[in-house]
């Protein structure tokens, strides 16, 4: 049941682990020395007679100097050997594939070099054996991009770009957890995703497939919008896609679809009803209201709930799909 360090999957990670074990060895020796002496002394020198005195001895300057300089030296040596690792972590190779990482409350967005942009619970995909540079930022509050197996993490800070670079060993193709390590609100602990380390070929074909799908979706959206303009009706969403999005964006962790109590109101039978608001008014849950609730959650707050719903960045057609999904929940 003892869980030790997770397996590192980069060369830098393995070097950092070597450093970890060195420090463990040094501190381990100090630990045994100090705790050993402590236990030995308190047993050996316990008082056995009521009048027994200790030794009248006030100190020893040579000893003081010794136990000041030796720890100082050991610590500075540790520091010295850490510097090259810091250098390596800080300096990304020049020929790296650049992936933008954007933290949102509470999901990760990834932008790949050819414009592919994934959101929600879509995993991060990277090729093995190649230099990958993550440029990290945030769309709202501070998050932290952390894959334990990379060993290096960086905060995602709004208005700032931080960087992590990796080169995952070829033999470590697989799936690893991606977590947010900086507290960011209600669903901080559920801001988890995964990293899929693919072979370069698999990575490329996934990327190409995504680019194609994105292009055709954009075309379809345009068509729909045109139709809507012509007929004058509201654009119709796709409820099945809405259902997928609701899971991806984490809506369902706060909204039930079966009237159970969660952090937000249940969606079952919501559409068309009268919704009481916290300012005393009521509003009809028509598509316009639902849309507004999703796009600017704090504009109208439902009575009895706190305004904790996060603003999620998504396209207009995604919003319509979600609305259609909510309307489908009779």
């Amino acid at each position: 049941m003892i869980h030790w360090l997770t397996q590192p999957i980069t060369e830098l990670g393995r070097q950092i682990d070597a450093m970890f074990y060195w420090i463990l060895a040094i501190t381990g020796i100090v630990f045994i020395l100090v705790e050993g002496l402590l236990v030995y002394y308190i047993i050996r020198y316990r008082r056995t007679h009521a009048e027994q005195q200790g030794l009248d001895y006030h100190g020893n300057t040579k000893l003081e100097v010794l136990w000041t300089l030796v720890p100082a030296l050991i610590l500075v040596v540790i520091g010295y050997f850490c510097v090259p690792l810091v250098q390596a972590a800080q300096t990304p190779p020049s020929n790296a594939i650049v992936i933008q990482v954007i933290g949102h409350e509470w999901s990760w967005e990834f932008k790949y070099p050819n414009g592919v942009d994934t959101q929600g619970s879509e995993p991060l995909r990277i090729p093995a054996g190649q230099n990958v540079l993550f440029k990290i930022t945030s769309g709202d509050v501070i998050h932290d991009f952390w894959v334990p197996q990379f060993r290096v993490k960086q905060d995602a800070v709004p208005g700032r770009e931080t960087r992590v670079w990796v080169n995952v060993t070829d033999t470590d193709i697989g799936t690893y957890p991606l977590r947010c390590a900086e507290y960011c609100g209600v669903l901080h602990s559920q801001m988890v995703s995964t990293v899929q380390v693919l072979s370069p070929a698999d990575y490329q074909s996934w990327l190409d497939g995504q680019a194609k799908a994105a292009a055709s979706k954009a075309q379809a959206d345009q068509l729909k919008a045109q139709q809507a303009k012509q007929t004058g009706s509201a654009p119709l969403g796709d409820a099945t896609n809405g259902q997928k999005l609701a899971t991806q964006f984490g809506c369902l962790s706060c909204h039930a679809i079966d009237n159970t109590q969660k952090a937000g109101p249940s969606w079952k039978g919501l559409a068309g009803t009268q919704v009481p608001l916290s300012d005393g008014k009521t509003v009809t849950a028509d598509p316009a209201y639902l849309k507004e609730s999703i796009q600017s959650p704090t504009a109208k707050v439902v009575k009895g709930y706190s305004p904790i719903m996060p603003q999620t960045q998504m396209s207009d057609s995604d919003v319509n799909d979600l609305v259609a999904y909510i309307q489908s929940l009779k």
Partner: protein
Amino acid sequence: MFPRFRRSTLGQWIFTVDHKKIGIMYGVTALIFFLIGGSAALGIRTKLLTPGPVSQITPDAFNQLFTVHGTIMVFLFVIPMLTGFFGNYLVPIQIGARDMAFPRMNALSYWLFLLSGIMLVASLFMGNIPDAGWTSYPPFSVQSPGGGIDAWILSLHVNGLSSILGAINVIVTVFCMRAPGMTLNRMPLLVWSLLATSFIQVFGVPALSGAVTTLLADRHWGTVFFNPQFGGDPMLYQHLFWFYSHPAVYVLILPAMGIVSEIIPVFARKPIFGYKAIAYSSCAIAFLGFFVWAHHMFVAGMAIGSGVPFMISTMIIAVPSSIKMFNWLATLWKGSISYKTPMLLCTLGFMGLFTIGGLSGIFLAAVPIDLGAHDTYFVVAHFHYVVFGGSMMAILAGLFYWFPKVTGRMYNEKLGVVMFWFYFIGTNLTFFPMHFMGLAGMPRRVYTYDPALQGLNELSTIGSYIISVGVILMVVNLVHSAFKGVKVGDNPWVDAQTLEWKTSSPPPHHNFDEIPVVTAAPYEFGAPNGPTPKPHSVNS
């Protein structure tokens, strides 16, 4: 005003400017906050028994719990207990003074502290509990709705003012009010440590107050100090916050080390080894403590390489702490050690556990390791070994050691020893597994976690229940003995040599009938031949 009321028992406490009464009020209030903060910790640990969500504790409530827990423990328990109770009660009496330099300001410090506590706790009843962690980083803390964070900010303002006033009082008292013959190098080591601590408070608290004031301005008055959209920078807050809050962790530990330095020589019947090394290392820590703050920000968005100077300064500041540890060990060597509750808490408790916290700190100081370990449960393990294994053990030791002086009655020794073992075992069981959780990938401040880590979390939660039993035993012992304990004379520890033991228990209003003249250092114990019993004692 109200002459009648002033003379009543309650009035005598409320209007008191006596440093001893103020100290006791600090101590009792801080212990009450410890019980509140501890209950919040039990709430956190109880939720974490299982990896998934539970309906009784929502994610929202969980975040409020750890925020309230951290804030209370740091600002309303450990700091007021150490500087407020031990500082107030003992500094004047240990240097042979009749009171603090500014008795009324001293009373004001206490009432401000109480007010700050009430302001924080009041948020519980206004339905807006702060939820941004004890660090309250923007932009999250700027966006968090409701009055919770505002209550938190105002509470810290008032609390900071109280700390600064208290610190100025200690500094002036130590420099101006010492009894004849009490040279600086004859001061008890606790006084040295509280003096160093007071300088930290005076120079550090303004940074914290500045940080939270700007936070308040960003929240309500449309300023953009921390808003990147308009050129502000969230990291500015972190720099300001840690510029105070790293030195503040030395406020949590230096007086604790002072307490340990008082107790060990008495129960080992040996002079403290290396008096000057221990005294001056406190000053070194207080000074160096202002140059390490950014070790909390290695992954916060600075260039990774800018961490290196802070790594080195952090490594260096570990040295004065280890010097103290070696000196205490050398004090035990060839001592004649008796294991009363305070001594158990200082040796096995403080020395044994603080060592673990100090050593895990070296991992976190090393930038390459911290890139992985930052913001994981490894950090939670580290600082609880320091604050619980260190500060808390020393506070308990001090409470029991000075209990007969303060109340004039002895505590129950057997119950004290049993309590020690509950604390000791509970602490290790609660906090040691957290190292492994962190290394296995569990971030801190999480409501849900990887089910594979449930076993470790169960251990930790069981440990926290064992600590609670210790806490109950502590309260029972203190309260019961305060009224029913055996009465004691001036110096129940027989050997203790600092000045507070040269007056009655409890001391008279003006501490000493006659101001003592000091002729020797405070730890003149021991026989020239060491721990062999004196011959006549064998025969008699």
